[in-house]
Amino acid sequence: MIFRVFEKKELKNLFEILAAHNKIVGPVEAGRDKHGEPVYAFSEVSDFNALRLGYTATKLPAKRYFLPFQENLSTYTVEDGEWQKSIDYNVSGPLIFFGLHSCDINALNKLDKVLLHSIYPMPYYAAKRKNMFIIGTDCAPQPFCFCRSMSSDTALHGFDMFITDLGTKYFVEILTDTAYNFLKHIRTEEPKEKDHILYMKTVSARNKKFTAQVDTTDLAKILDMEFQSDVWKHWGDICLSCGTCSNVCPTCYCYGVEETVDIDLKGAKKTKMLHSCNLIDFAEVAGGHNFRPERHSRLKYRYYHKHRGFVEAFEESLCVGCGRCGESCLAGINVPEVIASVRGGKSK
């Protein structure tokens, strides 16, 4: 890995140089909540001043840029008995992601395993993923982040460059030659020994700030044993089955498909919509039979998919510990508490 450092003011230059020729997506302030605190979101930015690199956490991940909530899979033209199908992967061009936290980068790495590197890669995802240039940035741990438990607090790959704020300078890890070439446009230096020390200090100071934890030891096995456990019923009782957790999760990718005919009968569409395993009709089949009619069985399934099934298939869980699901859940259902309760700890 190649490391450099650069003066803080250079970042604006980098941004502007990149923005002149590319589209940039980054964290911005989308509004203020009732306490007057900023609410952050990923959005296209063209003005460096609108960028909020010091953001805490966004409510939603940058999902719509790699797994849109709704996406046309194919369009058909229909004429008499004949029809033609055309496929569009819905990418208009490359995008620069300016300021993703490690958890969100790791989420992409996990998704890559199932959507890119499995036997049937998913072209819609692949097309977007391969057109992402990612600038990672260090984060400020929030009380709900348990990414350390999920080994997602640092990203080792899956980005092009990663910048860490050292106070007056940025420390940058460079992973791709594209990033290396981009950095030639601003003034950077070889890091000195004191930069390295400062970097390590910064990182360890951050690491001390993580509070939330999930015990993942033998979790897959324990989940298997506790399949019939009553704690699920408790969580099922308070779950609203609203699908919010899946929508805000950077790794939830399950979807449903709808086929529609245009009202003029001259065309048709096949549309994909992100679904959630917590929604009532997720496991409904012909004749109306529902494999998971109860709230608790659906909620349980979400945990099984993430912390057991995915582990079995890919040797890691499908959760990066960003804590978004717990933060957005009105009922307050969150991963640390659910897992703790399944492990025999106390539930709320």
Binding site: E82, E259, T260, A268, K270, V285, H305
Partner: protein
Amino acid sequence: MRPELKFVDVISEQQRTQRRKQDLASFEHTHRAVITSVFPLTDMETLYRIQIIDPNERKRFSFIPGQFLMLELPGIGEAPFSISSSPSIHGEVELCIRKAGNLTNFLSKAGRGTIVGVRGPFGTGFPMEDMHGQNILLIAGGLGLVPLRSPIAYVQENRSHFKEVNIMYGTKTPEHLLFTYQYDVWSKDDINLNIIVEKADPSWKGSVGMITEILQDILSGRDNEFYHNTYAIVCGPPVMFKFVCNMLNRFHIPMQKMFVSLERRMHCGMGKCCRCNVGSTYTCLKGPVFDYWTVMNLKEAI
């Protein structure tokens, strides 16, 4: 040099034609196919023969018994169907389809010449070659005969590779029996055919009862040699294969030699939409054909 990103086209022309499995385009590659014959079997089920239009694609299209394909009509729907014909015919398949919803109802109005889209084949199949030299029990309930027709065709075409072959088929009433015109042909190939209905009508001369009753008759009084060298393929509604598999288990037929086919909702057939997950196993990738040991280890499978 301008700091500008190059657009990455995920499917170069080369990839498109060469690496089929790794080919990103295959995800949405739909063969255009034409319905060449429509043959009503009962009020609800119709047998369709479907041929891939492009001769090259047709040649390349092959499958193993037990696999399914995704059939689509633009704007109406897309759904998985088991291939119900001999694996030795390429690019032309038979599907037996029951009217159950949007796609299947619309299809029931379609005639010869209708153009449909076909993706696949997908999923696991029955390991027919492993079964060579063994006894075979082919057990079907109701619509379960549809996926079973493909292994039956395989057995017929390779009869000398198998020892004793038994087909057991049960339905609710005689009217529900599928493929009645084929029973004679099956028997001719030294295959024992046992049919049972739950409720007879006046014209019914055969056995009446549950399928487990014939199974009991066939399995009783055999030696261990038989039990240990027998494969079973069980297709039908979940309740039925639960009873059947329990009985096979009691007779010590190895669980790894018992195969079932599961049905779930599917949108992609490629392990992406998660709708077919049982526990957290994709029915479309690891199944629909599972050995019974695996099924036992899945949560909420049956």
